[in-house]
Amino acid sequence: MLINHPILGPRDASEFVYLGDANLIHRPDWQAEDALAQFTKYGYLRDNPAGEHRELWFHEQGDRSWLIVTRNTLTHEISKVEMARDVASAEGRSK
């Protein structure tokens, strides 16, 4: 499998470490009323789609950037690769 790194171009998947669902970047607010329930959902519940899936890959044997890869779980077609940091930042995940 090849992952088209936004900065480095196509790289073999063996350079990467897989984490899972990109929803892991949506970490809940610890001060929310129902923080415990939100964190439980965040920590344990995942969608398992047959089709497009946004997922986190770490370029461990490369530039050590976390990527969000949109991969079709049926065909392995990769339609989009983004820098996770850019996505998280754009979503307003701030300090």
Binding site: V17, T40, S65, T75, I78, S94, K95
Partner: protein
């Protein structure tokens, strides 16, 4: 030596005779022969015994699809079982042995299975060996294992090397028959980078096995010239002996190049095989087609083979299985065999299942005939033909060619999502469904069977691919070539046949398939698993379609309704060594050595693997005969004076930036924002689910600069996690991370004399007395007159202790310097065992305690989890289940009878309670003999352990016969007030 079955002509080199040995007898063949063709030339048709019934078998094919002629090739460590005689190239001195027979190929004791065949049908094991249950493992399985299977292993390490390689190309062309060569020529002329790979050593595919001409020359000559032309193109890489074994995502293909299999052993410095990973933009599948047999009674005798194989043996290798032959066919292609062999002077009779079969003046054709039986115990002697008028004729023949039509080699199109589709006109599956992206099938692999159209199809495929690449292609005008239509009338099996083999490699008969259907295994996937049809190493290349056809017939469906099973990589059996490449033995994974490794080796250290690192475990001295003597000495000497331990392997992560402290507040459950510059703090890292992940220290070297340490085993995972937190959770923090594990060599200097020792090497402008450099201080310093270093006053041993780090290249020098300067204190190097003993004596947690199930509360650090801030794991660590009243707490254990050990892994029970999981009270995580206390000690988790000190509990380990009493004590066995480390 005479070769009775050798004909004239062929593509063998008669000037290069080669001697070889099969089953102890010497024979000779020629360069260009395979083992199978050379044996046939010597009138040896019997080459092996079948898998289940031990039936005598000979070659059925002349290629890699061979199910029967599997032999043990070579001797000694290079001995390789289950090698196909049909692809093994002959070399001088080749030694081969038949397999799956005892005592000899001609007299095989297990052939009794064939007589018992009515009991050994499909599902036999499942039905017969069901009772009694306990017999399966002890009685049945060993017997079955011994009886089944084919060749045996040498049980010696493989002496050869296997390499891995990486190639990139615009177009990978798989198969160098007419379609592949036409495609390669078209793509090569356009300037595209091309790889042409073929499993054969001679490129040309069927052109080398047929008498067809292309223009004025023979197909073989045209192929040779085309290959020569391609080899002059710098943008074309021609690879023979190279099998494309798999098609993977995004245009990646696996190719095994057999660099040395045609030699007695690899040339010096050469690997046996190379596994290439080919990154292609496009691929053209021109892998040709495989002929399939017709199923009839006793269709597996040596001498019965595919008609195309018979033709290959005659035209390419100049060999016939005998002087009188027959051909059984349902299509025009079978007649080609008759024509070619008749021309070579062999008598051939054709039995054509079609009543309107074409007739020829040069050989007899029995139109509408069927072969209803055969004879010959160790090799074919007669075939029984039933004619349309139901008369039975017996023909005396030594060979029978069978042609049931051709199957396009669609395997690689199925490795991802492709599902072949049925072509009614060809009576065959052709590539269908979703093909691998970028792959275009051509030629016979796409159901285009004539040479003329194969050439055009290859060219068309190349033109299509070049269009996608934006390259211009010129149309090559190929000369006229054979263009016979593929005329076929489906005929799969002779009705009423029982002992008729469908899958010859797994010994599956027509009767087995009918039986499976009767027993309601109606899905093709069930049929496959119940009968093992197509599950042998040939993946049913010659058997699947006949099996599906019989299944269709008994279930009243047609073949496409029955469906087909999936083909999976590898295309042909592949040596495990090729997948391993150089990653074997000590190279299985890299070994990491610390900068002072060679110094430790000089001291005679015993090493232990920790992650990939080699760490000194202890340093035996003269006279010490047991590791405990060395470890006890190292511990006592450190606690009494001073010891040095290499702790380079701990993970080190540099954290810099304005938000560095805030960032550490997120990754550690305890607070770091208020840590003063020049101070170090213990930090506990949680997973988001609240379970402890790792621990270490963070030293604040500047307002915006921390150095974090991790445990050796978790160094990589912690770094990955910290990058996740930084990039994905807090992307706007101004903080940067870099792993500096390899940049610094670090040593723990521990014991009451550690300060005195360090004062001898730390430059005087950096005072390290207790006032200037108190417990938990850290600083960037210099040693030995200006060498930059880092000093941390931290202690894992519980003694007055420091860790000193220098740039990696000075690690060895620093270690030698510490030893020399420490002579006056009798300094001792200590290994990981002594390190472990001292940390257990001190009650410090390590990997055994942070075992992936324990929380800060369990570790006795519950109050460290700050409620005032957000950190990873802080919210979920408040879950009810992790905070029960009787939660496990880390405590120490001391045996009541001091002679007893406290083995780690043993469980704790309340006195008088039953010993079962329900009453479990906890377990011991780490244990050792404490030379300071003079008895064994342990630390571990006990329910409400913090309130049970002084209680006597029962320590049990039924597996190791441990059952004795221990006292619950504080985990801090040594210096519980911590006076020593603050001294």
């Amino acid at each position: 030596m005479t070769s009775p079955n050798r004909l004239n002509g062929g593509l063998i080199d008669r000037d290069q005779p080669l001697n070889f040995i099969f089953d102890g007898r010497q024979y000779s063949g020629f360069k260009g022969d395979t083992l199978a063709s050379a044996l046939l030339a010597n009138n040896v048709r019997l080459m092996g015994r079948s898998f289940k019934y031990h039936r005598p078998r000979g070659p059925m094919t002349a290629g890699s699809e061979e199910p029967n002629a599997l032999v043990e090739l070579r001797t000694g460590a290079r001995h390789e079982p289950n090698t196909r005689a049909t692809t093994a190239e002959l070399f001088e001195g080749l030694t081969a042995k038949s397999q799956n027979r005892w005592p000899s190929l001609k007299w095989d004791a297990m052939a009794i299975n064939d007589r018992l065949s009515s009991f050994l049908t499909a599902g036999f094991y499942y039905k017969t060996f069901m009772w009694p249950t306990s017999f399966w493992e002890k009685v049945y399985e060993p017997i079955i294992r011994k009886a089944a299977g084919l060749g045996t292993l040498s049980h010696q390490p493989d002496p050869d090397n296997y390499d891995k390689g990486y190639l990139h190309c615009d177009v990978l062309i798989i198969g160098a028959g007419p379609a592949g060569l036409a495609a390669a020529l078209t793509a090569g002329n356009s300037g595209a980078s091309v790889i042409l790979a073929d499993e054969d050593y001679l490129l040309g595919g069927r052109l080398n096995s047929e008498t067809h001409t292309i223009g004025d020359e023979s197909g073989a000559d045209w192929a040779a010239q085309t290959v020569a032309e391609l080899q002059t193109m710098p943008n074309v890489r021609v690879m023979n002996r190279s099998t494309v074994i798999g098609s993977f995502d995004h245009g990646v293909y696996g190719v095994v190049e057999r660099v040395s299999d045609h030699r007695p052993k690899p040339l010096t410095g050469k690997p046996r095989q190379i596994l290439w990973r080919v990154y292609s933009k496009h691929a053209i599948l021109s892998a040709g087609a495989t002929e399939r047999p017709i199923v009839f009674e006793n269709n597996d005798r040596p001498g019965i083979m595919l008609a195309s194989a018979m033709r290959s043996y005659a035209n390419r290798w100049a060999v016939t299985p005998g002087k009188a032959l027959a051909v059984f066919t349902n299509n025009d292609d079978g007649h080609k065999t008759a024509v070619d062999l008749t021309t070579l002077g062999v008598r051939v009779t054709v039995i054509d299942s079609r009543e309107n079969a074409p007739s020829s003046g040069s050989y007899e054709t029995i139109a509408g005939g069927r072969i209803t039986n055969t004879a010959g115990r160790l090799g074919l002697t007669h075939v029984e033909v039933t004619t349309t008028s139901c008369t039975i004729r017996s023909l005396e023949v030594q060979g029978l060619g069978v042609s049931g039509g051709w199957n396009p080699n669609v395997q690689l199109t199925c490795h991802q999502r492709g599902r072949p589709q049925w072509d009614e006109a060809l009576s065959a599956f052709v590539p269908g469904g979703v093909l691998p992206k970028g792959l275009v099938p051509a030629g016979a692999a796409n159901g285009v069977f004539s040479t003329q159209w194969a050439l055009r199809s290859g060219q068309q495929a190349a033109t299509e691919v070049l269009g996608h690449l934006g390259k211009k292609s010129e149309t090559i005008a190929f000369p006229e070539a054979e263009d016979a239509p593929a005329k076929i009338e489906p005929f799969w099996h002779v009705q009423g046949a029982k002992r008729a083999w469908v899958d010859q490699q797994n010994d599956v008969t027509a009767k087995d398939i009918t039986l499976a259907h009767q027993e309601n295994f109606v899905s093709v996937e069930h049929l496959k698993r119940y009968t093992t049809l197509g599950m042998a190493t040939d993946q049913g290349k010659t058997s699947n379609i006949a099996g599906l056809a019989i299944m269709a017939e008994v279930s009243g469906k047609n073949i496409p309704e029955v469906g087909t099973t999936m083909f999976r990589p590898p295309y042909t059996p592949t040596a495990i060594g090729a997948f391993a490449g150089r990653s074997r033995d000590e190279h299985f994974r890299p070994v990491r050595k610390t900068p002072s490794h060679f110094w430790a080796e000089e001291q005679g250290a015993v090493f232990v693997e920790v992650g990939m690192w080699l760490r000194a475990q202890w340093f035996p001295r003269a006279g010490e005969t047991h590791w405990r003597q060395s470890v006890d000495r190292e511990v006592l000497q450190t606690r009494n004076s001073v010891g040095v331990c290499d702790v380079t392997t701990l993970g080190k992560i540099d954290v810099q930036g304005d938000d560095a402290a805030e960032f550490l507040n997120k990754v550690y459950c305890n607070g770091f924002a208020k840590l003063a510059v020049g101070k170090t703090r213990y930090g506990l890292m949680l997973r988001e689910d609240g379970v402890a992940m790792d621990d270490g220290t963070a030293a604040r070297l500047a307002e915006d600069h921390f150095v974090v340490t991790t445990t050796t085993a978790n160094a990589i995972g912690v770094y990955r996690h910290m990058e996740f937190v930084r990039q994905c959770l807090f992307p706007d923090m101004n903080v940067q991370l870099i792993s500096t594990t390899e940049a610094w060599a670090q040593y723990a200097v521990a014991g009451p004399n550690s300060r005195k020792l360090l004062q001898k090497i730390v430059d005087p402008e950096f005072p390290i007395d207790n006032e200037a450099f108190p417990f938990m201080a850290c600083s960037e310093i210099t040693v030995r007159g200006g060498l930059r270093a880092r000093l941390f006053r931290i202690s894992f041993s519980g003694e007055l202790a420091y860790e000193i780090a220098v740039p990696t290249r000075y690690g060895d020098a620093l270690m030698r310097c510490l030893m020399k300067e420490g002579e006056e204190f009798d300094v001792v190097p200590y290994g990981t065992e002594a390190l472990g003993v001292m940390r257990i004596e001190k009650g410090h947690a390590a990997g055994n305690e942070l075992n992936g199930t324990t929380t800060a509360l369990n570790l006795g650090m519950g109050r460290m989890v700050s409620k005032k801030k957000d950190s990873i794991g802080s919210t979920l660590s408040e879950r009810e289940g992790l905070n029960e009243d009787d939660a496990l707490k880390l405590v120490g254990f001391k045996p009541v009878d001091l002679a007893n050990p406290v083995p780690a892994g043993a469980h704790l029970m309340t006195k008088g309670s039953p010993v079962d999981a329900k009453h479990d009270q906890g377990y011991v995580t780490s244990a050792c003999y404490s030379p300071n206390l003079g008895h064994h000690i342990g630390i571990g988790y006990l329910k409400s352990g913090d309130t049970r000190k002084g209680e006597i509990v029962r320590l049990v380990s039924p597996l190791t016969n441990v059952d004795h009493d221990v006292e619950v004590v504080s985990a801090h066995f040594i210096d519980p007030e911590g006076e020593r480390l603050r001294a």
